[in-house]
């Protein structure tokens, strides 16, 4: 088992964890990443602590990334993609294209940790993402909070007074064929809303949702803190449209007023669309050689994999950072078990 070679495809949090854990077990690991840097989406996320840690797990991903980068045992190939996986004896031949050059490498096992694609908020045209500067996605807000430490309106750089969060953008939506919950959005949106409230005590948050999905233990604490906050308003309704009046600042929203049951117009400085996860758009490129098959929602089905091929993280379904790490660890165990059986 000790001279086995495992290729991990994808340098997001799941891939990083797999590579780290396998290397610690003394197994030769090659980690492939298509971008110039490893870290995946989580590298753009912000810390969501208020006066204490709110358990968003972003720092864990930051630390793990630095850890893997400095670890000599892992062969790190950035700017690399897998173009073909073919069976060869008891292992696989993996074709890796790296800045134009194609290399062939033998691997005893391949772990796909290719992650998800964030939902493209432009597909929900009624919210005007891309048209109005102050309509952001959750990912945009994450990046803004990470780089600038506070929320600012992109249109004029001012601190927003009223912010709306719209949940389930791209998730739980039959019209898009997305009959699944993305699992992470309620948690990240509530936590970021608390960061905004913490930074700007004057600000007001409206939270438009269907059902709030818990993210682990002590989530109730976060939820209660939001509910007890007088400037935090939960509205169980999904807005239908966002628009702007000609040459007037701010965003208008058509939404149900749950107090009297009428449709009304509301004004907001900034709107955040809590976008969900879609199956990785490059999944279908992987299906053939590795015989990976999509499950019911387009995410890959771990049970369809050939022996020696494993999945880790969000490639097999939406997960938050914590569950991705857990999933990666159990994938490592399965991989080790497979390698043990081979030798």
């Amino acid at each position: 088992m000790s001279d086995a070679h495992v290729i991990v495809v994808g340098g997001g949090i799941a891939g990083i964890t797999c590579a780290d854990e396998l290397a610690q077990m003394g197994i030769k690991v090659t980690l492939l990443e298509k971008e110039p840097e490893i870290g995946g989406w989580a590298a753009d996320y912000c810390c969501k602590a208020t006066d204490r840690c709110n358990r968003c797990y972003v720092c864990v991903s930051d630390k793990e990334r630095e850890n893997v980068r400095s670890m000599g045992e892992i062969a790190l190939l950035t700017n690399s993609r897998v173009t073909e996986v073919s069976k060869n004896g008891s292992g696989y031949i993996v074709k890796i294209s790296r800045s134009g050059d194609v290399e062939e490498t033998h691997a005893d096992a391949v772990i796909f940790a290719t992650g998800f694609t964030p939902f493209d908020a432009r597909k929900k045209g009624e919210y005007g993402y891309g048209r109005y500067a102050d309509v952001l996605t959750g990912l945009d807000l994450e990046r803004m909070l990470r780089e600038k430490g506070n929320a600012f309106k992109p249109s004029d750089g001012k601190v927003p007074q009223s912010v709306a969060f719209i949940q389930c953008v791209g998730s739980r939506d039959e019209s898009l064929g997305h009959l699944y919950c993305s699992k992470a959005c309620c948690a990240y949106a509530l936590r970021m809303a608390r960061v905004i409230r913490n930074q700007n005590p004057e600000s007001e948050i409206y939270f438009f949702y269907m059902d709030i999905q818990p993210a682990g233990r002590l989530f109730d604490e976060t939820l209660k803190a939001c509910e007890d906050d007088p400037n935090f308003h939960f509205v169980r309704a999904i807005p239908s449209k966002i628009y702007q009046y000609y040459q007037k600042p701010g965003l208008m929203m058509k939404v149900l007023n749950t107090e009297d049951g009428e449709i009304e117009e509301r004004f907001f400085d900034m709107v955040v669309l809590s976008i969900g996860m879609e199956p990785n758009e490059e999944n279908d490129l992987l299906w053939e050689g590795a015989s990976l098959k999509p499950g019911s929602e387009g995410f890959l089905d771990p049970q369809s994999c050939d022996e020696g091929i494993f999945l880790a993280g969000t490639v097999s379904g939406p997960k938050d950072i914590e569950r991705s790490i857990m999933d990666a660890k159990q994938t490592v165990l399965q991989t080790l078990r497979y390698l043990e059986g081979k030798s």
Binding site: L179, I212, Q213, R217, L218, R236, D260, G317, I325, L333
Partner: protein, 445 residues
């Protein structure tokens, strides 16, 4: 301002490695079904496993889940064959009707006291994995007659006739009331929906009352839609429902107008099933106490993001309700990742530990005040006897020891320096980063 700060970094000292032998053996203990998953996967990785459980037969570990297995194919796929697999696996040593009643020691050298049918046995082992079942507690406001908690309901349910064992006919109307105490847990939504769908097959009318319906589990959104199409009624209540005998009264929160609230009355409900709160069992609290594993409310679970699937105590992992109450399919992943974590620490035979990145005690200064013992987050300081004063402690014990002082276990010390910073006698120093370096830097610049 040109960002030219004076910086003192932690010195990069060349590691001094010490070879540690760890026998690949583990004790897997507890009454939660995930012990089977951990025992099975550790055993197939070549670790000699001792399974300690309080029941007569292994099958009883999953007995309370039989109903769920029937209702949910995924759960059945993951757990149904585990019993046979573990029972057939000759390399797993099973101790039935046994509980853990004391644990001490360190990674690679734990001693586990076991109480089996009245007799005590002590086992030496390298690693420990535990998964206890929590105790379901019905919120007081709901403990009236005729109301069942989830676990009672599932335990007393007869799968063949679709009814409670004491009843002769399938329950005509069944109501599941969720989210009455906290909203952290999503297992109850999943269980209610899947079980409700199963009951529907017997012609029962199923109501699910909740604050938020939890769909953040694989395939749940799809099943949620199918269930509603099939006629399961799902209500979201505003305040806690009032229960009067066989009648449930509540305000529907999905009614569009708060000013004209919609009162819903469900009459003649044969079975009212309330989601209970899972509280840690006594065994679990004791176990965590023995090993000084930090807990919040009795669960190890994600209290601290730095500890995913592991505990601060090296060589001890937890799953099941000891980690956090989860739906069995999620709990399965937690159990396997815990097993992976344990395998990393006991599967390789020999380990090299760096005895530079640790703290060390100067026994001549130590006043045995136990401060370091109390605050060590990894539980790696003990008071031990030394042969003579001023003997360097990490080089091995002396025979005929007479004199006591604190001693850092280098194998499990992570070199955080908490003990060094709190020691009133200044008897502890970090080997790789002594106080002098910091003080000199502060003086110099």
């Amino acid at each position: 301002m040109s960002n030219q700060q004076a910086v003192l970094r932690i010195p990069e000292v060349a590691p001094e490695l010490k070879e540690v032998e760890v026998v690949p053996e583990a004790v897997v203990a507890g009454d939660h079904p995930t012990v089977l998953a951990m025992a099975d996967s550790l055993s197939t990785m070549g670790i000699s496993v001792t399974l300690i459980h309080p029941y007569k037969e292994i099958e009883e570990i999953v007995a309370h889940m039989r109903g769920l297995m029937e209702a949910d194919e995924e759960v059945s796929k993951k757990y149904a064959f585990l019993c046979e697999k573990v029972a057939a696996n000759k390399s797993i040593k099973v101790m039935s009707e046994a509980t853990v009643d004391d644990v001490s020691g360190w990674w690679g050298n734990f001693s586990v006291g076991i109480l089996q049918k009245g007799t005590s046995v002590t086992l030496k082992t390298s690693g420990i994995a535990v998964a206890y079942k929590g105790n379901p507690v019905l919120p007081e406001a709901f403990s009236a007659e005729g109301i069942k908690s989830f676990s009672d309901f599932l335990a007393q349910f007869d799968m063949r006739k679709g009814a409670l064992k004491e009843a002769t006919n399938p329950a005509k109307r069944v109501a599941f009331v969720l989210d009455v105490d906290g909203r952290d847990e999503k297992w109850a939504s999943v269980t209610a929906l899947r079980f409700g769908a199963y009951l529907k097959g017997f012609g029962s009318q199923v109501y699910i009352l909740c604050r938020d319906f939890k769909v953040s589990v694989d395939d749940m959104e799809r099943e949620y839609r199918l269930a509603r199409e099939a006629g399961i009624l799902i209500f979201k209540y505003r305040d806690y429902p009032r229960i009067e005998g066989k009648r449930i009264i509540f305000q529907d929160a999905s009614a569009v107008s708060e000013k004209a609230p919609l009162d819903v009355v469900l009459d003649d409900v044969d079975a009212i099933v309330i989601q209970e709160k899972v509280v840690p069992s006594k065994g679990q609290e004791e176990f965590l106490g023995w090993l000084k594993i930090p807990q919040e409310g009795g669960f190890v679970g994600p209290n601290n993001p730095q500890f995913i699937g592991r505990t601060p105590k090296k060589g001890v992992v937890v799953a099941g309700d000891t980690w956090y109450p989860e739906y069995p399919t999620d709990g399965y992943v937690t159990a396997l990742s815990a097993a992976a974590e344990l395998y990393k620490w006991i599967g390789r035979g020999t380990y090299q530990v760096d005895i530079q990145r640790v703290a060390e005690v100067d026994p001549s200064k130590c006043a045995t005040c136990l401060t370091c013992y109390r605050i060590c987050p990894h539980d790696s300081i003990r008071i031990e006897r030394y042969g003579e004063r001023n003997v360097y402690i990490t080089k091995g014990e002396k025979e005929g020891a007479t004199w006591e002082a604190a001693r850092v276990k280098v194998e499990t010390c992570n070199g955080c320096g908490l003990c060094a910073s709190e020691c009133p006698a200044k008897a502890i120093q970090l080997v790789y980063y002594p106080d002098l370096e910091v003080l000199e830097f502060l003086e110099k610049t």
